[in-house]
Symmetry: D2
Subunit: 331 residues, 4 copies
């Protein structure tokens, strides 16, 4: 079986990463990779590592009929694309922007947008709903890492006190546009914070937690940091809880037992374990009455393109890990 797929917005970081994955996916036939800025050029012009991997060029047009359409067009652009283009009702859509992850009217994990319903595509939260879905809102990168750190607690109504979260992100998290804080001379060997306590991903995180634990008593305090590395997100979260380390390990182990990409380890992990993979690695510690959870993902894979492919696999009834058994870079 080959799924006919198209990518809208294929010249950016997430689009490129998706392209790399789909080119290696055994059940995908790539119909087009659209890009306004690069139309007509071979994809290796924008993504030089793809030299020798494919002869495909960026198209200006996204109208070619496909079974699944990936939207990598950026925040705001996805909604505009769907408003301006006639996408057949039967086409599956997986959107990587934040346009359909959350809206103010929505209190459960499906966002209604006109005639379409977007299911929030975090398989560890609601895999069965994703399998039945036609349209997927792919979660944000920080949102993925933080939710995976907290879902097992929310499921058991155990979010009863404030949660203190730090998250350090690599430079690819900010995309390929040029900016002062992505200039190498500035960023190398440097650290800074941004959007302290106000990161936009908090909305989708809080919504998912309320979905699992409707009487969530916790507040999330979140400080995002810019780190001097290209790929990955390193999250720590801690909160007061009465359960022991052993109980917490059992809770997390059970919750993620059937989820192939989320792994609980009893060794102190480091970020590069997950770089260039679709994994989330979780680690638990207990210090006094504080449960400390470490959560690591690759922002471009489990935090974006990898999770999009995982969702496609679920939507089309494929084995969840198809095309996602990736060699870690490790170093």
């Amino acid at each position: 079986m080959k799924i006919k797929a198209g990518i809208v917005g294929g010249a950016g970081y997430a689009g490129g990463e998706l392209l790399r994955l789909l080119l290696l996916h055994p059940n995908v036939e790539l119909a087009f990779v659209q890009s306004r800025s690069q139309a007509g050029k071979p994809v290796h012009t924008a993504h030089p590592d793809l030299l020798g991997e494919t002869d495909i060029s960026f198209s200006a047009d996204a109208a070619i009929p496909v079974e699944v359409l990936f939207l990598c067009a950026g925040h705001g652009e996805a909604a505009r694309f769907l408003a301006e283009n006639e996408v057949p009702a039967e086409t599956k859509i997986i959107d990587l922007s934040q346009d359909f992850r959350w809206n103010e009217k929505t209190i459960c994990d499906v966002v209604e947008a006109g005639e379409r319903s977007f299911v929030y595509g975090l398989p560890e939260l609601q895999r069965e709903q994703i399998r039945q879905a036609k349209h997927i809102a792919n979660p944000g990168c920080f949102a993925t890492g933080i939710q995976l750190a907290l879902l097992p607690l929310a499921k058991q109504n155990m979010l009863q006190s404030d949660v203190h979260v730090s998250g350090i992100t690599g430079s690819t998290g900010a995309g390929q546009s040029l900016s002062a804080t992505s200039h190498f001379s500035w960023r190398t060997e440097n650290i800074s914070t941004y959007k302290v306590m106000e990161h936009q991903h908090l909305r989708e995180i809080n919504r998912s937690l309320l979905y699992l634990q409707p009487e969530d008593q916790s507040n999330i305090h979140f400080i995002p940091y810019r780190g001097p590395f290209a790929r990955g997100i390193f999250i720590t979260a801690y909160l007061q809880t009465a359960i022991s380390l052993e109980e917490a390990q059992a809770l997390y182990g059970n919750y993620y037992a059937g989820h192939p990409f989320t792994i609980v380890t009893d060794q102190n992990p480091d970020l590069k374990q997950v770089v260039n993979t679709n994994k989330c690695v979780l680690h638990l510690q207990k210090h006094g009455n504080m449960l400390v959870i470490t959560s690591l993902i690759d922002n471009l894979l489990k935090g974006a393109a990898g999770q999009a492919v995982q969702n496609m696999n679920l939507v089309f009834g494929l084995e969840e890990t198809t095309g996602l058994k990736l060699k870690a870079t490790s170093f």
Copy 2:
């Protein structure tokens, strides 16, 4: 005036940094730089950037009479050195280890060690005591950055709720000994935590805070991170407080008004502003009822050798900034 100075343990990172500073200090005459491992070799063997700066060689002996003795011998080694060597009573001692920063019997900011009293050498905490002191226990690097973030609050009895602290340290914080987590292949582009909630500097921090605010109601929750950079410490601390941002800025501004190295900025800072300087840069934000403090230092300077020289300046009645007006690396 030239102060005759000696360094014990001059081949390590802190010793080397102290050597760089003392060679450029207008009021210091370096009598010896002792090192067991490097005795007899020119100092530029261990510190190649000093090639052309000095002809001094490491000595095996530390018995040469000096007016001030810097101990960079490592934790445990400083106490042993003083036990095994007869240091004249009038010799000033500035110890960079943790041996005299804290002990269980001490409830104020002076540690009694046999016949000697070590004054805790954080000028922003107790500059007058330092000016009168003969023996100084130079603070730890994380301890310096975290205390400078909290002292103005403690002074006003405003530590009334838990303090949540993250601190990311560069690789020089772990010294020059070889280890798996200082291997370049591992550390570059990587992040990990260590000593979560259990860092040994918490003892000296808590002691200083209790000294200023004897009924300190707060607990400090501290997660240290290893970052992929060589120099610097980036700290964030936050706590609930009723005071407004303007009040907090005034409080910090007043507290540090006469302290030349600790600067409060209203711009979001980044770590490299302080690298290769003796400065601490502080930044305040208020989000809801949370006051968020960012605190940045160079771990080898304000966090070690620079503060040691600052203390020497105070002990010998020199202008506090002498020899410490350093060009920032910036990039």
Copy 3:
């Protein structure tokens, strides 16, 4: 078909990388991964990214019968292993050390070692001989990158003047042992040279060039550099030649036409195009009478474990690229 494989020395960098590849290879069944230092421990103890990928543990023993034995034991250790262990005559051996790449008595690209003949495993030099071989000496990393830059010229007797080579290597090239030049504090943002004009890989390079061009008139002048990055080798080589850029591009294009991993590009390349892939990317420029060749590989893949798997594929009659279509890290 499943090839039964064993790895001797699986705890190091090359062994770990080979393990990552073989676990994902569709035609391999891993019989054992031997390590003296790690015997009995799960492989993810040494290679934490393999957590969740396999339950295999390191074995002390390498005596389990296999069809192919990979030796990752280090220079000198491979020869010793074969001397001290009875490896059945029919077992294929792929050695990643330098023990069988070259010896003083050998003038062609097969090294006789007792009863065994080791074929030099550079597919772009002698793919047919590799297909027929039982024992393979896998080339060195610098040797691979430099040879691929020069083979098409040697094949046409065009090495008629001195060749000037610079090669910058990442830290993984020096293995996982701890040393002053692999300490993060030293290596980050730093550059140095080593083994200037005397790198040991020059022997195998010169032997291969003489094999193709027996009257090679050239000398290779080679400066290796340590670079502040973990993976990859960046090589430039230049020499005087009368041929035009177009002729050179045709020459290289033809030579590598049937070789799936070696790609000639007309765009100025950068190292990260090949990181975490088995590719070599070549780029040609002509400036005056100088032909300048850029050659990029990942030292752990095309320069070690990836090429070993490529050789295994050839030896066992598999498609050359099996298990080697890897997603580039790109960033």
Copy 4:
């Protein structure tokens, strides 16, 4: 004595570095720091490490009378500034652009530009001429490092064969403008070449060598590399020569004996020895008949602003090292 100084173009990398130096210089009074883009803002807006160091703001105007005017306006802009502004004849000018380093009509080391004569400001080439000069063309960064590697040979007519040069530069060499090759995601852990064999600094290098050795028989082949670090230039140069290593060391030692910033070492050096200093470190090796010279500088200091201050010191009769005894960053 205080020299009244002004900076034109103070918001860029070289301008900022010059500002850092002049603020610490004991004999300089800064009259203005001009910047079109930042006029009216405090200098710490563009250079945040200067927070707390000075209250000066960028001025729109550069017309305030000064004794020395530093032009950091960029290539082409310096000539335009002098054409459009009336700078008094007695004002000393030190230009950091390439506008007056070389022109086609000039065969010696003074460039005539209208009524002004610009002396090429490489003290190790022509210190006496600089002492007598009113206008200085400050050398390029690569040009400085490469010339210092070759001047002693040229002085002795020993450039008799081709010189093969590699130079790896940090990202600050490309200035602060945003570009694809200065994006952190691209540059970290990456290497590439640019302007192969065609770097514009070759002109000023060749002119200086011909000045010392009018019958220079050599060609310089130069490959510049972009390296993944912020500061510094690492150069290797080699050529055939009959002299022994000892003779070469004596030759270089004698040539640089009276030059305080250029140091010949017999230990294999690394780039970070010179970072944040005004030094050039040279190292010599002999391999067969090849003399290999390593040359290291900080591109922003000895390669730009530091050398500009060195030239100012010479022009005003100060000790050459005044204000330039800088603490190396080392790590």
